[in-house]
Amino acid sequence: MGGAAPAPEESCLLPTGAVSTTASHTITIGLTEPVDPRHAPIATNDAERIVFRHLYETPIRFDCDGHAVPELADKWTKDDDGRRWTFQLRDDAQFWDGAPVTAQDVVFGKGGLGYTLGALETHVVTVMLAKPKDEVPSVLGDPGLAVTKPAPDSSWPIGTGPYWVTNATTTTQQEIRAHSTRGDTLVFKLVSGGDARDLLDGGVDLLVTRDRALRDYAATLPNHTVTALPWDRTYIYVTAEAGSTRFDGGSLEQSVRAEARRPEGGFWWLDLRGSGCGVGQSMSPPPQSGQHRILYVRSDPTARELAGRLAALTHAVATGRDADDFSSALAAGKDWGYVVALPRVTSDPCRVAKASLPAWAATFTALLDTRATAIARRGVARWTVDQDGTVHLAP
């Protein structure tokens, strides 16, 4: 099977009305969470997802309907009954510094469970799958396969995306500016502890939030559209207390200020045991110590509220941790429970599981599904949504 890049489905475009096209213009995106270039190209929050999506490219991406869309690769073919896939890189694919992107740049140091990457020619990448697939392998859209190389004079790795960062070199800046070869400018404004409504009133063209109150406020603004994005996140409760966790309150969605629903099935993380991903491999969790604590990532308000509700129900204590500390604590497993946010869909379950789930034998309980809301200014730009809920400028 061969294929040229299909145009994005209209269903994946945000309803922003008619957009006037000009030679070049500036788009401003508001961010309510911090952005750390050291995480690039794998985002750890919604803000980083938007920023990284415009700076770095994967071989292909999947739109909100699950259709493969060209990125670095503009053609692909299936061989060997779907066991071998060959991707042709775009002829004009190049890094920000002008260096052409080769197949070696794509495959170097990459690979994972169930697939092997190879550089067949300068612009041809092969993917060998352990199990044959009829559809394009989704792993080619995983941010882990985004092509980057270190930048000697910047904390931002050099990418291949249509925009490159021109002003930000530290993690403390309040504004990130990026430019494209067409002369367009993207300005990312961070709210940094202030009132996100100020960003809206300050004229940002796009803001993605999970805050109901902010969504409700945006609904009152005449020049903005408010669009619910796909349910993209599932919060789960991870504990070593097998069988002892019962949250039958049935109204956990009331406990958070984000738009939430009861979790819907198809949980990719339920099938990981025995898959070789290293999840739940250890026979017994480490012994717990001290007070009954439920840990959460401090910067995630939904996780904090969920942990607080669970603490209220179980007379435990909810304790916030920085993201890195939380990961270490989860790996150690010495606390009573953990509220973990997982993507509802992922291109590379093993990679996400290794980063987000413990190796010790744990009980996973789905708590909530949440989704974000995109607030876009009318008539400024065309925004499209990927399968994982990432919003970005439409090509």
């Binding site: 309150g249 009331q254 406990s255 200020r257 007070q291 904090r304 509220e305 942990a307 607080g308 509700r309 603490a311 209220a312 007379h315 204590v317 909810a318 304790t319 916030g320």
Partner: protein
């Protein structure tokens, strides 16, 4: 023990005892007043704390009253409780209201005490909250852990249902620090779960009782907690130590001053008194001597008078027998005369004619014993000369050495003369290893005519004592029966 020493001790006791009693009295009174003042301070602080808590309670109550009025008018609240509307938005009501009211604890409870909205712990809805009535200390749950709050409550009715608003402020270290107005007194909390010896470094000196509810794991029940006023035991110990130190120093200084004063007074008084004593002793001795002389002379004269009367009678009545009778009575006359002569010679020894001048004691000792093999000497070098008659000194030493040799009773023994320079006197000690004296013998040893030796006159030691006194010296005896005696003479040095 000398008269001066006794006087010194007496003065010391007379001055020190009242001083000590006075000092102890002052200390006791001071302690009583300090304790009284401390009690007043603690009582004042407890009253201030009580007033502060009452004021805080009024402040909270005023805010709750405002919240109650606002809640009655709130449409979302009415929709939730009357029409059963989605309570999602109302869950944030208490949090917003709590911040606006400046409170740290806020719950809106239904008539069963179930939390509808919680400001300090948004997600504790549906739990049973504490049943608070009046000012109460509540240990409340929060997502990050329990905390203490001083809370009170108000109530309202909406749609025929009764609700309770429970609010308060956090009782943390800053709250307690605000209560502690006295820098020397600390304020702490003692909860029912606390052990009595939680902080051994603090002494509880006062306390205020408050109703207490531990609502961390449920609605809890009403117990009692105490706001305690504490004082550092180290501070108290330091205060006590300082008081004792200064008291001891004051007593010591006063005692030293008193002893110096007593020493000065005893010297001023004892010097003339001792001189008077010596003069009195001298007069007494002279009187005793005069009576003794009178008696002895009469004893000597009585035979002579009898013989004379007899001879007179014979001469008047039988003159022819006078020679015969005279011959017969001649022995009596001669015996009496001899007796009187002996008596006169002995008395002559009691009234020496002394001539005081600088005298080398060691030279007198050497001259006195003249190398006698029976007497050993331990003469100190560098003795200062004494102001005494050398002859008198020699008679003293002769008598003492003679007595010492006699006390040996012909047995082997030693007589030793030792000299020593003391501060203001030269000390001469004549020791023997003879029979020594009993207490009774010692008491009479210096009496005139008392002797334990056959043929002794009984005047030796009496003479020695008088001669020593005449030389402004002193004499003391250390003796033990069967082991010997030591006569110690102290003659003032020049």
């Amino acid at each position: 023990m000398t008269f001066r020493t006794r006087l010194l001790i007496s003065f010391g006791v007379v001055v020190l005892v009242p001083l000590l009693v006075f000092g102890l009295g002052i200390r006791s009174e001071m302690s009583r007043r300090v304790a009284g003042e401390d009690t007043r301070r603690v009582t004042a602080l407890v009253n201030v704390i009580s007033a502060d808590i009452a004021r805080e309670n009024d402040r909270i109550a005023a805010r709750l009253a405002a919240l109650r009025r606002s809640l009655v008018d709130d449409i979302d609240f009415r929709n939730v409780v009357v029409r059963g509307a989605d309570r999602t938005n109302f869950l944030d009501y208490a949090g917003n209201a709590m911040r606006v009211a400046g409170l740290d604890f806020l719950q809106i409870q239904d008539d069963e005490g179930r939390v509808l909205s919680s400001g300090h712990f948004r997600n504790e809805y549906d739990r049973l909250g504490p049943a608070v009535s009046g000012t109460t200390l509540v240990r409340a749950a929060a997502a990050e852990g329990p905390f203490l709050a001083l809370v009170t409550s108000d109530s309202l009715t909406v749609g025929g249902r009764r609700f309770r608003v429970v609010g308060g402020t956090a009782v943390d270290s800053q709250f307690l620090a605000r209560l502690a107005r006295d820098p020397e007194l600390g304020v702490g909390l003692r909860l029912p779960s606390d052990s009595a010896t939680a902080d051994s470094g603090k002494l509880v000196v006062g306390q205020l009782t408050l109703p207490y509810i531990d609502a961390v794991d449920g609605p809890g029940r009403v117990e009692q907690a105490h706001i305690v006023v504490t004082r550092s035991s180290a501070l108290l110990a330091a205060l006590q130590h300082n008081v004792n130190l200064w008291f001891g120093a004051a007593v010591l200084v006063a005692a030293l001053a008193a002893l110096l004063l007593a020493g000065w007074l005893s010297t001023r008084i004892s010097t003339p008194v001792e001189a008077g004593f010596r003069e009195m002793e001298r007069r007494v001795a002279i009187g005793d001597l005069a009576r003794q002389v009178n008696h002895d002379v009469k004893n000597g004269l009585a035979p002579l008078r009898n013989v004379f009367r007899h001879l007179t009678q014979v001469a008047r009545e039988t003159p022819d027998e006078l020679p015969q009778v005279f011959k017969e009575r001649q022995g009596t006359v001669e015996s009496s005369i001899n007796y009187l002569e002996t008596l006169a010679a002995n008395y002559a020894k009691l009234s020496p004619q002394s001539e005081r001048k600088a005298t080398d004691v060691n030279a007198v000792v050497r001259e006195t014993i003249q190398g006698s093999p029976s007497v050993r000497t331990k003469l100190a070098e560098g003795l200062r000369p004494v102001s005494a008659d050398a002859l008198v000194l020699r008679r003293i030493i002769e008598n003492l050495v003679s007595n010492a040799l006699d006390s040996l009773d012909g047995k082997n023994g030693a007589v030793t003369i030792a000299t020593e320079q003391a501060k203001h006197v030269v000390r001469v000690a004549v020791s023997d290893t003879g029979r020594g004296m009993t207490k009774a013998e010692l008491d009479r040893a210096f009496d005139d005519f008392y002797t334990t030796k056959p043929g002794g006159t009984g005047l030796g030691l009496s003479i020695v004592r008088r001669l020593v006194l005449d030389s402004n010296g002193s004499l003391k005896v250390e003796t033990k029966p069967g082991e010997g005696s030591t006569f110690i003479i102290e003659i003032p040095a020049q």
